[in-house]
């Protein structure tokens, strides 16, 4: 897993009509750069697609996909990763949402501490984190890593911790955008109880932020290799990793599937963000 | 020949016309304001002079040189923006000297010119500050100095005071006029604030929907508006509906009103009698009189604004405050009066 800057992924910048007065020279340059980018971007996808769809001989077929999908090992590992991803999202939301809400409402002074901690996954690479987890949980008094099942819980919690930068930023941005304090106080003055406030007022306003964070987490967890590998988990990442060096057509099909999933998640996030109501727009003077 | 000339200038964006048939000749050293509501084409016209927009039709010349198609960086006009637009990476001194640096002016000469301008804007010791360390008013002074440093032929100001607080705005307004007089520089000033335009300008161009409504000195514009738009946009105005009797008289409800400005409309035409609030007096007068009921009395300091209901119609009278002034009571029936020379007539729409 690599470090990415979460805020920019989540917040697609609003489309502001910047008047462009590009000279002919810069226009040509722009096209050349764009073309180079497109070529570099698409060459690996085209090459992979070519392998995936021409599994037998030189003809187009879904044979590779059929073989992958009917492989019981694929089904098992992929299923396990999906469950892990969902569990990660649930754990991450359970930890982050109440914390972010509480900090915004009651202890804004502690915001910088929370922010600092949630950014730690950028400082502690996954491979270092898993190193530390193994050392921490393999010896008494915390010898949890004994069984596959309990190790899996550690894996999910580690994923949740690694998702903090995305999840916290996303939720925090969402909370800032809706002015939680005023909303909460307004709801209270109308006689709303605590559960009502959270469920009927705060949550609906955070839906987009929560979904964005969840989708990004899903995209990252589903094919994660490093942590799963060293915790000895038989998930989708290590499964793919073994295949890459053994077959040709099947990993190509898996790569196409992974890409489609990432694209789907990201596309959905930018769709959500773009149509989000009440998003602040720049007011333009005529 | 005039110094800055706009000759039949027209600007279209896509299908819509932003500026239509704009003709203006500005004398050297003259201060001209473009006044109008937002979207009236005043900023577009200014941007055409600066070269940021190209006229669809027409010609613009400065000092006899046709600059219609010149690039913005070849025109030597100074521009001040509403948002200051100071370069955040440069100090005040570097901002002011930037135009000179581009012109490859020597270091010492640049420095002395920068000092001279900082002196002019009363900020001699701020040369090493960065824009973000300054207040809005200070930033706009620097922007003015930066525009002036290149000794532009024309100074263009695009709503330079709208982002500032009321108090700073008044201060800086006086400052701008002082500097303009000192340098005797031809200036075009865009604003939607009529008070600003009135206070600053030698002449005001009132614009509406891309069209020049009236051009003239502030006194002329205010007291002798030529169109309904100018009359209502510049200053407050009472419009009293009535019907023309003859070239001097209008029947307004039960009362007859006289005007010394000859009425061009034929008898029987529906018109409005126009009169400024400050021309009205409470109490009987010798010429025009109207009766009504006081609706509200607002004390605004120097003036007292009295609103009088005359049936459905509301008339505003601004009285000068003085210690001996007797304020009317709300719901009191009053007579208001004004002289015949204070009002004029415009056709009802």
């Amino acid at each position: 897993m690599t470090v990415t800057a979460p805020p920019v992924v989540i917040e697609t910048p609003p489309a502001i009509a910047t008047p462009v007065r590009a000279g002919a020279g810069s226009k040509v340059l722009a096209w050349v750069i764009m073309l180079a980018g497109v070529l570099y971007f698409f060459a690996p996808l085209v090459a992979t697609g070519e392998r995936a769809f021409r599994a037998i001989g030189r003809t187009f077929s879904f044979e590779a996909f059929r073989r992958v999908i009917t492989d019981p090992e694929f089904l098992r590992t992929f299923g396990e990763s999906v469950i892990n991803a969902v569990a990660t999202i649930v754990v991450s939301l359970l930890v982050i949402v109440p914390t972010a809400y509480w900090v915004t409402l009651k202890v804004p002074k502690l915001r910088s501490i929370i922010e600092f901690i949630t950014l730690l996954p950028f400082v502690i690479p996954a491979v270092v984190l898993v190193f530390g987890l193994i050392r921490m949980y393999s010896r008494p008094p915390l010898a949890i890593l004994g069984s596959y099942g309990s190790t899996r819980i550690i894996l999910i919690c580690a994923y949740a911790a690694l998702s903090f930068p995305y999840m916290y930023r996303s939720v925090d941005n969402g909370l800032r955008a809706i002015n939680v304090r005023t909303l909460t106080e307004a709801a209270q003055s109308l006689g709303a109880t605590w559960p009502t406030i959270v469920w009927r007022v705060i949550f609906p306003n955070l839906r987009v932020a929560l979904l964005s964070g969840a989708l990004l987490t899903f995209a990252i967890v589903i094919g994660e290799l490093t942590v799963a590998l060293y915790l000895g988990q038989h998930t989708f990442g290590p499964f793919m990793s073994n295949l890459v060096r053994n077959f040709v057509a099947e990993p190509a099909a898996l790569t196409i599937l992974s890409f489609a999933m990432t694209w789907g998640a990201m596309g959905f996030i930018s769709y959500l963000t773009r149509r989000q109501p009440g998003k602040r727009r720049m007011r333009r003077r005529p | 020949m005039a110094f800055l000339v706009l000759d039949r200038v027209r600007k279209e964006f896509g299908g819509s016309t932003a500026v239509e048939d704009f003709n203006l000749a500005v004398e050297a050293g003259e201060f001209v304001s473009f006044l109008g509501p937002s979207g009236c084409g005043k900023t577009t016209t200014l941007r055409m002079i600066a070269g940021f927009e190209k006229p669809s039709v027409g010609r613009i010349s400065i000092g006899g040189r046709d600059i219609t198609n010149a690039r913005p960086n070849e025109r030597n006009v100074g521009m001040v923006f509403q948002s200051y637009a100071l370069f955040p990476n440069m100090t005040v001194g570097q901002n002011v000297g930037f135009g000179l640096k581009l012109k490859k002016v020597g270091r010492e000469e640049t420095q002395s010119r920068v000092n001279e301008l900082l002196e002019l804007i009363h900020m001699p010791d701020k040369g090493d500050s960065y824009p973000h360390e300054l207040s809005g008013g200070q930033q706009q002074r620097v922007a003015l100095a930066r525009a002036l440093a290149i000794r532009p032929q024309v100074l263009l100001l695009d709503e330079p005071l709208s982002a500032l607080d009321a108090k700073i705005r008044d201060e800086l307004r006086i400052e701008i006029r002082r500097i303009q007089r000192t340098l005797d520089i031809t200036t075009i000033y865009v604003t939607h604030d009529q008070e600003e335009a009135m206070a600053l300008s030698d002449r005001v161009v009132v614009m509406s929907r891309g069209v020049m409504e009236q051009v003239g000195p502030p006194f002329q514009i205010y007291n002798y508006p030529e169109t309904r738009f100018v009359a209502s946009f510049v200053g407050k105005l009472n419009q009293i509906p009535g019907v023309v009797i003859d070239s001097k008289t209008v029947q307004c409800g039960d009362e007859r009103l006289q005007t010394t400005t000859p009425i061009e409309e034929s008898p029987g035409t529906a018109v409005n009698v126009m009169v400024r609030p400050e021309e009205l007096d409470i109490g009987a007068g010798e010429e025009n009189q109207l009766v009504g009921v006081v609706e509200s009395v607002n004390f605004l300091g120097a003036i007292v604004r009295v609103r009088i209901a005359r049936g459905e119609q509301m008339i505003t009278a601004d009285l000068f405050n003085e210690r001996l002034l007797e304020l009317p009571e709300v719901e009191e029936a009053v007579t208001i009066s004004f002289p015949a020379h204070a009002c004029w007539v415009m056709k009802a729409n």
């Binding site: 085209v46 400082v123 990252i220 994660e224 590998l229 793919m240 990793s241 | 521009m79």
Partner: protein, 293 residues
């Protein structure tokens, strides 16, 4: 959970607020799965294998095996950060100021979101099909009589990994630098033109200096991004290309350094370098915000 009104109704603030208790679950969770593991490594790195406190493990970082791994990681991170940063910047410039059709902008933004998160096994696989020994581009070169693998190039060495890392590096640059580029005020360009500047002079004296903190900051972010990457390199080379992360991975599985303490020191060294780069990035980003806000 306490009611919100309980404190405000009483009028007087209690002398000591217990509100901080609300973030306790978060602190506990972070300690167990984020801070704890890091602290354990730190403590172990300061302990001698025989027991007792020591800085000896850090002194042994000059071990050639370790230095080589760090060196390779640093080199690959610098190259991909600088090249990816420059190219990403140019791409962002092209879609915003290059006069390209508007569709490209949202297309590139979404694509960058995907590509910057498309690391690990699938990325490695995609490049094996492209530039591996029997990859499509390799075959294309072969068709023109050029054997890529005749030269120094191999997908499984330094240059190969550089090409692969670029796939997530420059999209990340595009994503982070686009808002900064959009933050350039139109009036700055107009003001400088008005003062006589050409387009190039505007970029040289105003736009680039204003963007410089953002550009540098993001390049540092890219550095950290590459430096901490493990999965892609592992999937591609199976651990034969000894980056610092690969070395740590190997140390986890089988104490390849034959020195437990040194392994911890290597891990802490990574954390230190990552911390420095993220810290520097944050500082530069703050400066950029002051100018562009």
């Amino acid at each position: 959970m306490t009611s919100l009104t309980s404190t405000s109704v009483e009028g007087q603030r209690p002398p000591r607020s217990w509100n901080w208790v609300g973030i306790l679950p978060f602190l506990l969770f972070s300690s167990a799965f984020l801070l704890g593991p890091a602290i354990i490594l730190l403590v172990r790195s300061l302990q001698a294998n025989e027991g007792g406190w020591t800085l000896g493990n850090y002194r042994q970082l000059i071990d050639p095996q370790v230095l080589e791994a760090y060196g390779l990681s640093v080199r690959i991170s610098i190259v991909t950060a600088v090249v990816g940063g420059v190219f990403g910047f140019l791409l962002a410039w092209a879609i915003i100021y290059g006069g390209l059709p508007r569709v490209f902008r949202s297309l590139l933004t979404t694509f960058s979101g995907v590509a910057s998160n498309f690391a690990g096994v699938p990325l490695a696989a995609a490049f094996i099909f492209t530039l591996g020994r029997i990859g499509m581009i390799t075959a294309l070169f072969g068709f023109f009589g050029i054997d890529l693998y005749d030269s120094d190039f191999s997908l499984y060495n330094f240059w190969g990994l550089t090409v692969v890392y670029m796939f997530f590096q420059f999209p990340l640059m595009v994503l982070t630098i686009t808002p900064a580029l959009e933050g350039l005020k139109k009036e700055w360009k107009e003001a400088s033109e008005n003062l006589g500047a050409t387009s190039w002079q505007y970029w040289r004296h105003v736009a680039l200096p204003v963007l410089m903190p953002s550009i540098l900051g993001t390049i540092i972010l890219l550095f950290g991004n590459a430096f901490g990457a493990h999965a892609t390199a592992y999937a591609l080379t199976g651990g034969t290309l000894r980056l610092a992360t690969i070395l740590i991975g190997a140390q986890i599985s089988g104490d390849v350094l034959q020195n437990q303490g040194l392994g911890y020191a290597v891990a802490m060294g990574m954390v230190l370098i990552m911390g420095l780069s993220i810290g520097l990035y944050t500082i530069l980003q703050r400066r950029a915000e002051r100018w562009l806000a």
